[in-house]
């Protein structure tokens, strides 16, 4: 005499089997931190957060180059990031140890760097100090081969200019008297 419930038993075994496979498979395939914060791998957040920085801040440079930092802090260039013209601090120093020389821009490269902000270009706000490079050199009566830093100290662009202006006005005042 066959068991009249044998179909039910088979069905139950198959169902339980399927559920077990799904549960075990899920456990084996999903990463450990899955579902820590939501339906994704929670550890990937920390992995991204731990990625090393390449750019520091101006504070990173100030530790060793306090004199430049001081000069810059009163000038029109006070907002500028040091790493904008030089290179990321990670290419230059680790802690207090310097391991590479910063690419100091000279000659044509330096002019290009200055003009990347100060060349008169359509779209730039009117109030921003802009020059037409060729015209500026002609107007100042200097050679076309002049580089910007021959008149403007790059860290404090108007430092020398204002100094000369002060001297000139002082001289004129003295001459008048």
């Amino acid at each position: 005499m066959e068991n009249p419930n044998r179909f039910w038993i088979r069905l139950t075994v198959v169902f339980v089997g399927i559920i077990a496979v799904v549960v075990l498979g899920r456990m084996a395939m999903l990463p450990e931190s899955w579902g820590k914060y939501g339906y994704y791998r929670g550890d990937s957040i920390e992995e991204e957060a731990q990625r090393a920085m390449k750019y520091g801040t101006n504070e990173s440079c100030k530790g060793c180059h306090s004199e430049v930092s001081e000069l810059k802090s009163h000038s029109a260039h006070q907002r500028l990031s040091c790493e904008m013209c030089h290179a990321p601090v990670s290419e230059h120093a680790k802690g207090s140890n310097k391991f590479a020389v910063m690419p100091t821009k000279k000659g044509k490269e330096q002019i290009g760097l200055c003009l990347s902000c100060h060349q008169k270009t359509i779209g730039r706000p009117e109030k921003f100090p802009m020059i037409d490079h060729a015209r500026h050199l002609a107007a100042q009566k200097v050679k076309p081969s002049h580089t910007c830093d021959q008149c403007h100290t790059v860290h404090a662009p108007l430092e020398n200019i204002n100094h000369v202006k002060d001297q000139r006005s002082l001289k004129e005042a003295l001459n008048e008297n």
């Binding site: 994704y40 990937s44 090393a52 750019y55 990173s60 802690g95 359509i122």
Partner: protein, 271 residues
């Protein structure tokens, strides 16, 4: 026997001599390396610590926000350069870029972004097509960090998601580079990274923010046109702008993505 003793004596002597030389060298160089009681040195060390080691705990209460001041952008492209270096973005792909909108007297709008604005702009191609410029401005573009992102909804393997502190990130190990999110993003900020072969996009420099630093582009911007901060911190620059009278707008508001990237005085022509 006698010679052996002498040899031993000589060896010992040489050994102690070398010992002294080594200790002297190491001691001397250590004295050179550690300037005691130097405040400068301590400062550098602290800075280095914050540069590398310390990761702040996640702050789910923060409401991070990015504000771009369109009138402040001069289109120098420094943000793009900094971004490329900070995040190892392959050449020819952009996490952030700067567009230039030029409007002529007939109210026709011309948009250009050569090299994503990374190498700067010149007048030449624009002046060839436009005789008289009525208005022109630069618009930096980056990830909008939507509150209701389209990109995370479509990912078939849950490799992109919103973190508890509100950043939309990509799990680079899980991404299968199907490119669905690239199509879904209405702002076009996503791309398939050619080197890593996964989806990639601007993260608002999540790795810097968690270390208490500003995103690389904000740090690099010479005019302060890019601003980043926590809206819940009432002292932050972004909160002061956000709660002031300045006109803030978002891109493609009608899509309902609710971006957390705001623009000050954005022109209606910008899409």
């Amino acid at each position: 026997m006698r010679t052996k003793i002498t040899q031993e004596y000589i060896d010992r002597d040489r050994r102690s001599f070398l010992d002294k030389v080594f200790k002297g060298t190491i001691g001397g160089s250590l004295m050179l390396m550690i300037p005691m009681h130097s405040p400068l040195f301590a400062e550098v060390l602290n800075e280095e610590k914050s540069l590398k080691d310390t990761i702040d705990p996640m702050n789910p209460n923060a409401n991070y926000c990015f504000i771009v001041d369109v009138s402040g952008c001069i289109g120098c492209g420094n943000c793009c350069v900094a971004d490329r270096k900070e995040n190892d973005v392959p050449e020819g792909q952009y996490r952030t870029w700067v567009e230039r909108y030029v409007i002529d007297m007939m109210n026709k709008v011309y948009v250009d972004a050569p090299h994503g604005g990374e190498k700067g702009y010149s007048n030449i191609p624009i002046l060839d097509t436009i005789k008289e410029v009525k208005e022109a401005f630069f618009v930096p573009k980056l990830c909008n960090m939507c509150d209701e992102p389209s990109c995370t909804q479509v990912c078939p393997v849950a490799a992109t998601f919103t973190t508890p502190d509100g950043f939309v990130l990509i799990d680079k190990e899980h991404c299968v580079a199907c490119g669905y999110c690239v199509q879904a993003c209405p702002y076009g900020v996503r791309f398939i990274n050619e080197e890593r072969k996964t989806a990639d996009k601007c993260t608002w420099c999540y790795h810097r923010v968690r270390k208490g630093k500003l995103p690389a582009c904000v740090n690099a911007c010479p005019t302060g046109a890019r601003k980043f901060g926590d809206l819940n911190d009432k002292e932050s620059e972004v909160a002061k702008i956000y709660y002031s009278k300045s006109r803030l707008s978002v891109l493609k508001k009608e899509l309902g993505n609710e971006p957390q990237l705001y623009y000050i005085d954005l022109h209606g022509e910008v899409v």
